[in-house]
């Protein structure tokens, strides 16, 4: 008889659908082919002028009609494409998903195109001012602009399109958001609230202002030329992350319900761990204790020991700070095993997809398990001698992978780690 509960007596969470969009393309197949070929999706920005900017590269998604429509329409489209792929793979009805939605989405504000347009309606009234813009809205509200400023808007549209149930949750835990969306879904299944959930991380928010904001915090790579060489996780000459866009979606189900409807199981979401940092708004605690605790909590939750992790999908942002801290955390937890566990960073190729990163990288982790191919860390030409990891340098590698740890460490101290596995831990 099949056992449907895990080592802690909770419903086992199976993944039955995966969807990915990134600067490498649309869909799992194209993305996986590019990622395992070591191809970079990072390129010169064409969406907006880059004069006067120190960073002129990004992993934007430029191949959609919505790519120039603004952060809200693009984030919605990316989420919808990823969801559609995941739901189709799961074999569930496209307009009647029947479970809750957890959506990690970027916090966006009224974009400049709209701001300029709104100001233009007041030219006859006097000098630029918020008072005049408010007066203009009073005379004639702008519902389309309003929608782009509402954080609940994308989730409502996705919920409506795919027929998810209940009040959708929109969330942000900075760079850990996508992982948090998955964790919330796992917890809902474990509580028995639903047999299936749709978890999505999406981010289509690269704009002049968002780029400048990160740039002012000295967080971004300025190695613009050549663009594909700009993200260099774990390299000695890494100088910052590269902003990027995309979306990842997972359909997760209780094992019992997935088997009952004869769904194909792609892997298991075995454990989630989190721990917040109380040190600083942009820097992590020097002793790495929050990241260490997040990794340990995820392993405990999964019922696995450090000996049982086959591969690590690193956060690996390519900032001096993150990669150093991530190594400190991994080497503390995995001790002697650290350098023998292959640990690669998808961000070397797709850049940092911010709100979407945790979801996209979980999706890639599941593909790693399925295919037995480790995606490389590219641009690893000049290793950081203080980071003794097997980063799967520059070329993919074949290996049998039963378990993956995927790390997400956020600005603002939000750390979330996920453990995925080929077989459940009973």
């Amino acid at each position: 008889m099949t056992k449907y509960t895990d080592h802690l007596g909770r419903p086992i969470v199976a993944v039955t659908g995966i969807g990915i969009v990134s600067s490498l393309g649309q869909g799992k197949e194209d993305n996986w082919a590019a990622l395992t070929a070591g191809r970079s999706g990072i390129h010169e920005i064409t969406r907006f002028p880059t004069e006067n900017l120190n960073t002129r590269i990004a992993g934007t998604v430029d191949f959609l009609a919505e790519s120039t429509a603004g952060a809200t329409p693009l984030s919605e489209k990316l989420a919808a494409l990823a969801a559609e792929e995941a739901i189709a793979q799961a074999g569930l009805p496209m307009d009647d998903f029947g479970g809750p939605l957890f959506l990690a989405a970027p916090p966006v504000e009224l974009d400049w195109k709209s701001r300029f347009a709104l100001d233009r309606t007041t030219i006859e009234d006097g000098d630029t001012s918020y008072e005049l813009m408010l007066a203009s809205c009073r005379r004639k509200p702008l519902p389309d602009f309003f929608n782009t400023t509402q954080f609940g808007y994308i989730a409502e549209r996705i919920a409506d399109t795919f027929g998810t149930r209940g009040l959708p949750i929109t969330l942000s835990t900075a760079c850990a958001s996508g992982a948090t969306a998955i964790q919330l879904g796992v917890e809902a299944i474990r509580r028995g609230e639903s047999d299936r959930v749709l978890s999505i991380g999406t981010d289509g928010s690269v704009s002049a202002e968002s780029l400048i904001r990160f740039s002012l915090l000295s967080a971004l790579s300025t190695q613009n030329d050549p663009a594909h060489k700009s993200a260099r996780p774990f390299s000695k000459d890494r100088s910052g992350f590269v902003m990027a866009e995309g979306a990842g979606a997972l359909v997760m189900e209780s094992l019992e319900s997935a088997l009952a409807r004869g769904a194909k199981i792609l892997g298991f979401l075995q454990g989630c761990g989190e721990k917040a940092d109380d040190f600083h708004r942009t820097r992590s605690k020097p002793d790495g204790s929050p990241a260490i605790a997040a990794v340990r909590n995820a392993l405990d939750d999964a019922g696995l020991t450090t000996d049982q992790i086959d591969y690590i999908n690193a956060h690996g942002t390519s900032t001096p700070e993150n990669d150093k801290m991530e190594y400190l955390a991994l080497s503390t937890v995995f001790a002697d095993r650290t350098s023998s566990i292959p640990t690669s960073s998808n961000k070397s190729m797709i850049g940092h997809t911010l709100t979407a990163a945790g979801a996209i990288e979980a999706a890639f982790s599941l593909l790693t398990i399925q295919t037995g191919t480790l995606p490389p860390t590219i641009n690893y030409d000049n290793p950081d001698p203080t980071i003794l990891l097997d980063v799967v340098p520059n070329e993919k590698r074949e290996a049998k992978v039963s378990t993956v740890l995927s790390n997400s460490f956020g600005f603002g101290g939000q750390n979330t780690c996920l453990v995925m596995a080929a077989e459940p831990v009973l």
């Binding site: 300029f116 969330l171 919330l184 989190e274």
Partner: protein
């Protein structure tokens, strides 16, 4: 799976009515007078924050400087809630405490925006001008002071709550989901104690613009909450405030000898399609379920004042003839992300006192029976519906 009782063991509130439980209870049980700011944002009226000594909950000036007002408000209210629960500065309890924050964002630099927009009227190349101005005029750390998840980040830094940190977004829905999720986790044994809440600062043109792009603000002065139909503008009079709750399993609370204001017996949430489904029927069904057979329920309504959802909620309330409802936004203003936490907090205080607070306007009925249960509602301006039922702990 466990089925723990979920208790509210700490409440922190700051609003235009003042700070703390007593200030709010006293204001609501007397003859409440709304505190209003009618000039700064004319023709809009808002419920402004009173004097707050930030040092009391955010001792380091350097921390205060890193936050915009909404973050300070939230961090402050979180400190009040922790203090009220007797958890503040208890390292063991804070470092294992879960946190769900309902957050908006924004509070942009209005001077920079105005400068750029003014230049944009004459500039030949707006894009290049925008790059140049933003790069030179924006204060680097302002980004962090606006960023949604940084309210939680600041609470971790200032109050050392680090068990977990999740930020929900989506206007009113974020407050509903935050409490619902934190309570569900405690009920099922996924969590033992949690800090949950949100904050909103309305005294900022950019935040008002967020409402007025949709035409939701009332523009002809304050009026009692249930009597705004037909007035100029959209009916909404927003307010500034921060509300945090400490939720705890009964077992956890008992072990440390904590007192409880109320038990969260149930939360019902949903999101109908407003253009298609009938909101009044939806709210009425939710209320009837929460009333659980009580024909004289005490209902703390978070109705926003926005015309359509408020009249739908009013119609649903009127369909419960024995119920006594209190539209709190009439005296606090609408706190958006913090609205559901506010309604739940005030309902919890009433349950713990065993009595209803006074009618807040003439159309509201007095309730002359002891209160052993209360219902809290929040119906979002454009989406999301949430109802909680609280009972004596």
């Amino acid at each position: 799976m466990q089925n723990n009782k979920v208790l509210i063991t700490g409440i922190g509130i700051v609003s235009s009515l003042g700070e703390g439980l007593d200030a709010h209870w006293n204001a609501l049980s007397g003859k409440p007078e709304p505190k209003l700011e009618t000039e700064t944002f004319a023709p809009y009226t808002v419920h402004p924050l009173g004097e707050v000594d930030w040092n009391l909950q955010i001792p380091k000036r350097s921390d205060q400087r890193q936050m915009e007002t909404w973050q300070r408000l939230g961090t402050y209210a979180a400190g009040l809630a922790l203090e009220d629960a007797g958890i503040k500065e208890d390292e063991a309890l804070c470092s294992t405490m879960d946190m769900v924050v309902a957050a908006g964002g924004g509070e942009r630099d209005l001077a920079v925006d105005t400068l750029i927009l003014a230049e944009g009227r004459t500039s030949n190349d707006r894009g290049v001008m925008l790059n140049q101005k933003l790069s030179t005029e924006l204060r680097p750390t302002l980004f962090l002071a606006q960023l949604s998840n940084l309210l939680a980040g600041n609470i971790s830094i200032v109050h050392k709550v680090t068990g977990s940190s999740r930020t929900f977004m989506g206007e009113e829905s974020s407050g509903i989901s935050a409490i619902e999720t934190a309570a569900a986790r405690i009920r099922s044994g996924q969590s033992t104690h949690a800090l949950v809440g949100g904050s909103y600062n309305t005294e900022h043109f950019d935040m008002l613009l967020g409402h007025e792009l949709g035409g939701y603000l009332k523009s002809d002065g304050w009026a009692p909450l249930w009597q705004r139909q037909g007035s100029a503008g959209g009916g909404l009079v927003p307010g500034s405030g921060g509300v945090f709750l400490v939720l705890e399993s009964a077992e956890h609370a008992e072990k440390r000898g904590a007192r409880a204001y109320a038990e969260i017996q149930s939360i019902t949430s949903g999101q109908i399609r407003r253009g298609r489904d009938d909101l009044k029927t939806t709210v009425q069904t939710m209320l009837e379920k929460a009333a659980d057979g009580d024909e004289a329920s005490f209902i703390v309504s978070g109705a926003s004042g926005a015309h359509k959802p408020t009249s739908a909620e009013k119609a649903a309330l009127d369909a419960l003839p024995g119920a006594a409802a209190r539209g709190i936004s009439g005296v606090t203003g609408h706190l958006r992300e913090a609205q559901f936490p506010l309604a739940v907090a005030l309902a919890a205080i009433a349950v713990s006192k065993g009595e209803a607070f006074s009618p807040l306007e003439e159309s509201e009925k007095p309730l002359d029976k002891p209160v052993s249960a209360a219902i809290a509602t929040t119906i979002g301006i454009t989406r999301a519906e949430g109802v909680a039922r609280l009972v004596k702990a």
